[in-house]
């Protein structure tokens, strides 16, 4: 059984999705989706444990040996990402029957669960596969599922946002496809490990440089790296609330992983940073993105749009850590994958709870909510503190590594810029707190409108985890550091 685990993380949700179509019953399909998510979590946790104790696992699909067959390759890096995805899915899916902002008749909820499962299957596929073309296929499965999920948002702007994401996403995906084609042309291989061996021989050619440019640009579009982020705020704002929670915490993480994988495993850090100097481009773009997006977040009146811009800024943190090409920097990036997933999912859950009770996303309408929904808003405060990077929360851990990486390089100025941009988070987090706690609620409204447990419990699991993993970092930092060392080829 355990030998089949690498393929099981993909196959389980992939096969479960059509089964959901057959079940159709609203309650049963929810339980089914939940069970699949938890099973996936169990499997990926096992895989991570396996990888940490015995080293990378190679699984040959259909028994065909690589580089001819498709290889699923699990190492510390992707096992970590799989756990993040499965974990967030396991926490968010239970809250889905609340159907917040969902434009779907209750009896057709099974379609929503089907799309969610396909989305997870795609993400798992991107993560686990060791085959470049397979990456494209799963990338498109994920994207198609997410166009559908976003398009299900209530209001006429949701399909519009989904459509503009579809256009950008397809262009990005096709770029990746072109890049893979060019690599294949030069090496005759699609297996990532094999490509890593063959590419250095041909890396001086213009074809490979173009291939790299196409792949990086394509992935960056899907990731929403500044300045390729325009689709992201719209998509996150108009998507159903729980889809925003799920997507912001998983899709961006997996696609960032893909970028890391392409740079460090396939093309190799020496080529990317030593020859092409991607860092010269990525570092300033990350910094500008962090500031522009954080400033944009400050001026938003819609709380979801605020969080969406904050996500773009946080993606800037991750690419910044990557572009510093050091163990500390990459550890910071990878640990921030995990940390940001927790806090952003938690904050989107808070937004979902507010919408559930008040049917609004406007910050101005949240007057006095601090007293009317004390537990929900306490979650916002804790999650927000983590965004700022207060010690005792996960945000601090990520920031510590990023700033440490900058200082180790002797870049005091960049270190100061990183902390300065995290201060902008204080402003946009506190804007909401100001309204919720200092302005009195509108007259004649119910006193207590606390969110139902079905939303409150997942929210607090996520927010609680931001505190727990802010203090107990043995697991997160340990794994992230091992992964960073593996990627950079540095022995511990």
């Amino acid at each position: 059984m355990i030998q089949q685990f690498p393929v099981l993380v993909v196959v389980a949700p992939l096969v479960a999705a059509p089964i959901t179509l057959l079940i159709r019953n609203r309650r049963l399909t929810h339980l089914w989706a939940m069970a699949v998510a938890w099973f996936t979590l169990f499997v990926s946790a096992n895989l991570l444990h396996e990888v940490l104790t015995t080293g990378p696992i190679s699984y040959q699909l259909g028994g065909w040996a690589p580089p001819w067959g498709i290889e699923y390759r699990v190492d510390t890096v992707n096992a970590f990402v799989m756990v993040i995805v499965a974990m967030i899915a396991s926490v968010v899916i239970p809250a889905m029957p609340t159907r917040i902002r969902l434009d779907l008749a209750p009896e057709r909820m099974y379609l929503f669960y089907t799309a969610t499962l396909l989305f997870i299957a795609g993400l798992m596929g991107i993560t686990v596969t060791g085959d470049a073309f397979n990456v494209f296929v799963f990338l498109e499965i994920t994207s198609l599922a997410s166009y559908t999920l976003i398009g299900l948002g209530a209001g006429r702007r949701a399909p519009l946002a989904a459509f503009s994401y579809l256009v950008m996403g397809t262009i990005g995906g096709t770029f990746v496809l072109i890049g893979i084609g060019l690599m294949y042309q030069m090496t005759g291989s699609l297996n990532m490990a094999d490509l890593a061996v063959l590419l250095p021989g041909v890396q001086h050619t213009r074809t490979i440089m173009v291939a790299f440019a196409f792949i990086t640009t394509g992935v960056s579009i899907k990731l929403g790296v500044f300045p390729l982020h325009q689709w992201l705020p719209k998509a996150y704002t108009y998507a159903p609330d729980l889809v925003s929670a799920l997507m912001s915490a998983t899709a961006t993480k997996v696609i960032f992983y893909l970028l890391v994988r392409m740079i460090f495993t396939v093309f190799g850090a020496t080529f990317v940073f030593g020859v092409l100097h991607l860092d010269w481009l990525l570092l300033p773009l990350s910094l500008i993105g962090m500031f522009v997006a954080s400033l944009a977040a400050i001026y938003q009146t819609n709380i979801k749009r605020l969080l969406a811009y904050s996500s773009i800024a946080q993606i800037g943190y991750m690419t910044l850590g990557l572009s510093m090409v050091s163990v500390a920097g990459l550890t910071g990036s990878l640990v921030h994958l995990f940390n940001h997933a927790l806090m952003k999912a938690g904050l989107f859950m808070v937004v979902a709870s507010i919408f559930y009770r008040l049917a609004t996303h406007e910050i101005a309408d949240m007057r006095g909510l601090g007293r009317r929904m004390p537990l929900t808003f306490a979650a916002w405060v804790v999650g927000g503190l983590s965004m700022i990077g207060v010690p005792g929360t996960v945000g601090f851990i990520s920031k510590w590594y990023l700033v440490l990486a900058a200082i180790e390089k002797g870049w005091i100025g960049i270190a100061l810029l990183i902390v300065l941009s995290s201060l902008l988070a204080l402003v946009y987090v506190w804007r909401v707190i100001d309204v919720a706690y200092f302005q009195s609620p509108p007259e004649g409204q119910a006193d207590r409108i606390e969110a139902p447990p079905i939303l409150l419990i997942p929210t607090w699991i996520l927010v609680g985890a931001t505190v727990f993993f802010g203090i107990n970092t043995t697991w997160t930092v340990g794994v992230a550091e091992a992964a960073a060392r593996q990627l950079l080829g540095v022995m511990p």
Partner: protein, 491 residues
């Protein structure tokens, strides 16, 4: 009681106090008596550590390792011992005073107020006991955020604005400068542990050390070094007990305490003084010291005048830290205790005046000495301590501060100390003069009642006690000095 237990209890008890207050909110009397009980227990627990530290022991424990080389760990050394005693001791008095004030002033949301109050004490004790920069930073931020609801207690537009400035300055400076400085220190020294003699000597030199020192001095915004002092006068919108305990004792003293601790145990006073790395900070501190005294002269609101006086007195300690000699840091440490005792009395008195006569402006306080003789006598005694005159504790700490400056030949800064003392006479003296020697004003909006009218006894007793405390400290200054003596030779 084992020292480990004592350390843990001294955190746990205030936290429990916060919880018990939140739970017993419905019965104000039970709630308030319990708060005092927890306060006494906390102070008692902290006190059991004193003999150990006096005997040269450094009790401590490691709670949890967050990152490699970054544990949440505690160790009680003399300076921390003193700060813990001051914070936990004055908490009891302030609690009693706060009951009188909050009830006399009919404040709302008292339960929330009394729940967050002890949390701030937990944070202050955490800062006092911190064994490394990370732990210090953790509790430093906790102190900022736990006092935010206290500062914004009234929840109106003024409080909101003050809250923004309070949080804005304190969090910005700490995140921007202090955090960066801590990571930098870690990158240079590989540790953030407070170590006797410092951790930087031999590992860094030249301009980075001077910059690092600047990052620390400005990064600790709670020390209110200009230009990051504006939060302090703004935070005075808080109820007076908050101003008294937090902005004369816990918060600001946590700031200067951190500065001293970092100078002694991270830089090492010898290292810092030998390289003159902090010379530029002496000028900043000296400027803050004098200019805030001058600004204090111009304030008519009593609490605002006291706030600027606090900024000036904090700069005394920061200047001492920048001078970095044995006597100056001991003097700085002593001044934490002396100034805390005196300033809390002054704030208590200001609050008592406000509750009893609704007066807040100094120009309106003519003749108040006859109406509130006990309060104003206490005010007078505490003023002496701020001015640095015997028989009050302030005389001793100022003596050591000046001595420290003189030892290094910084006569200019000796003069700064002296001029500032004169200025403090100029801004505190007139208040006493008006109170005792002028007839009450006829055109006042809040005319003084006939005969004596003191505030509630729950307010008068605490302020009398602290006034007596300033005198007691004069006679027992030796004990404080002995406790602190080890830090003069590096810890």
């Amino acid at each position: 009681m084992s020292t480990d237990l004592a350390i843990i209890l001294s955190f746990l008890l205030p936290t429990v106090a916060g919880l018990s207050t939140a739970l017993t909110g419905r019965w104000p009397n039970a709630r308030d008596s319990l708060t005092v009980l927890w306060g006494v227990l906390t102070f008692g627990t902290v006190l059991t550590l004193l003999p150990v530290v006096n005997a040269g022991g450094r009790p401590g424990l490691v709670l949890w390792e967050v990152l490699e080389g970054l544990p949440i760990a505690f160790e009680v050394e003399p300076l921390g011992m003193l700060f813990a005693l001051v914070a936990s001791g004055l908490w009891i008095v302030t609690s009693v005073y706060a009951f009188g004030y909050m009830r006399g002033h009919h404040e709302e949301n008292q339960t929330r107020f009394f729940s967050y109050f002890p949390l701030a004490i937990t944070a202050a004790l955490g800062i006092a006991y911190a064994r490394n920069l990370f732990t210090l930073f953790l509790f430093y931020e906790m102190l900022t955020f736990s006092t935010y609801p206290l500062v914004t207690h009234h929840q109106n537009a003024t409080a909101q604005r003050a809250g923004r400035i309070y949080l804005g300055i304190l969090v910005s400076t700490s995140v921007l400068f202090l955090f960066t400085a801590i990571v930098w220190t870690y990158a240079i020294a590989g540790t953030t542990e407070f170590t006797v003699g410092g951790v930087l000597a031999g590992k860094a030199s030249g301009w980075p050390v001077a910059v690092l020192a600047g990052l620390y001095f400005f990064g600790i915004g709670k020390a209110a070094l200009m230009p990051f002092h504006r939060w302090l006068p703004n935070a005075m919108v808080a109820p007076t007990p908050v101003s008294a305990l937090l902005h004369a004792v816990a918060v600001v003293k946590a700031g200067v305490f951190s500065v001293l601790k970092i100078v002694i145990y991270i830089f090492g006073i010898d290292f810092l003084a030998a390289g003159s790395y902090s010379e530029w900070l002496m000028w900043v501190a000296g400027f803050t010291l004098l200019s805030s005294s001058v600004v204090a002269l111009k304030q008519d609101n009593l609490k605002a005048r006291l706030a600027y006086s606090t900024i000036s007195q904090l700069a005394y300690i920061v200047l001492a830290a920048a001078i970095a000699t044995g006597d100056s840091v001991v003097g700085g440490g002593m001044h934490i205790a002396m100034h805390a005792m005196a300033k809390i009395t002054l704030f208590f008195a200001a609050g008592a005046i406000m509750v009893a006569t609704h007066k807040t402006e100094i120009s309106d306080m003519d003749g108040i000495g006859r109406t509130m003789p006990i309060t104003m006598t206490a005010f007078f005694i505490a003023s002496l301590s701020i001015m640095g005159l015997p028989p009050t504790g302030g005389a001793w700490s100022k003596w050591y501060l000046a001595l420290g400056a003189a030892e290094t030949g910084q006569y200019l800064f000796v003069a700064v100390y002296m001029i500032s003392s004169l200025l403090s006479i100029a801004y505190l003296g007139p208040i006493i003069g008006r109170a005792f020697f002028r007839p009450p004003r006829a055109d006042s909006h809040h005319p003084l009642p006939e005969g004596m009218k003191e505030a509630h006894w729950l307010m008068v007793v605490p302020l009398s006690l602290t006034a007596i405390g300033t005198v007691v400290l004069f006679f027992f200054a030796n004990n404080v000095h002995d406790l602190l003596a080890p830090i003069a030779i590096g810890g």
